[in-house]
């Protein structure tokens, strides 16, 4: 299992990108609008994993609610699964609380989330890409 990305909720993704560029040696930056989740996303590719900066694009975005309640900061951590159905079955059988079933996210990747109450306050995404590697 790998950490695919660490997702950070921010008010302004362009301003946040400038901050992160001040210390990170970033290989590559991808910008993406995710209409389903009502966020604008910047993905910063590090050597082994990625940092995702997420800005809400609507007042009813879940990320907007997070920012209002908690302020900017880490929103979730995503773990890449090799076989997401198997891993989710195992987690569920072990009593972890999932947030909904496995669904299809952007780029055909499969995703689901583990409730933060099951993992000591950390909202954790399980994800699996249709291709090898990152999801």
């Amino acid at each position: 299992m790998r950490v695919d990305h660490i997702a950070i909720a921010v008010n302004d993704v362009d301003e946040a990108l400038e901050n992160y560029k001040k210390f990170l040696n970033i290989d590559k930056v991808d910008v993406e609008i995710v209409p389903n989740e009502k966020v604008k996303v910047v993905m910063l590719q590090l050597e082994d994993t990625r940092i995702e900066l997420m800005e809400p694009t609507a007042e009813d975005s879940p990320i907007k609610r997070f920012l209002v309640e908690r302020g900017e900061g880490i929103h979730h951590v995503a773990i890449t699964a090799d076989d997401i159905e198997k891993d989710v079955d195992r987690a569920t059988q072990n009593g972890l609380r999932m947030l909904g079933g496995i669904r299809t996210g952007s780029y055909g990747r499969k995703i689901t989330f583990i409730h933060p109450k099951s993992l000591n306050g950390v909202l954790t995404e399980f994800c699996q890409s249709p291709a090898e590697g990152k999801c």
Copy 2:
């Protein structure tokens, strides 16, 4: 640059370890007491990075304060530097606020922190090991 570890503040490291074992394929678990920081630490080795579970061992531990104020959750993210002096110089010149200078942590590693206000709410550790790889 690599993410060396993601550190999570927890009330009880043994209970948290049981939770994380329910979904992670963990290769290796290291337990460590860090007297300087007044924490008991469990390091979970994933394929590419590590998850650090931290329990305070004293009422005046900074992690205890975090738990009282915020509850369990991600405390910081650590980035491995190849040349910590150079990277910290660059970050400082770019206007990032450091939390103290570079100091020696456990196992002779060099560490310092970037203030969360400089990085959109994320407390970020810079670390460099005397050996190659993880710090």
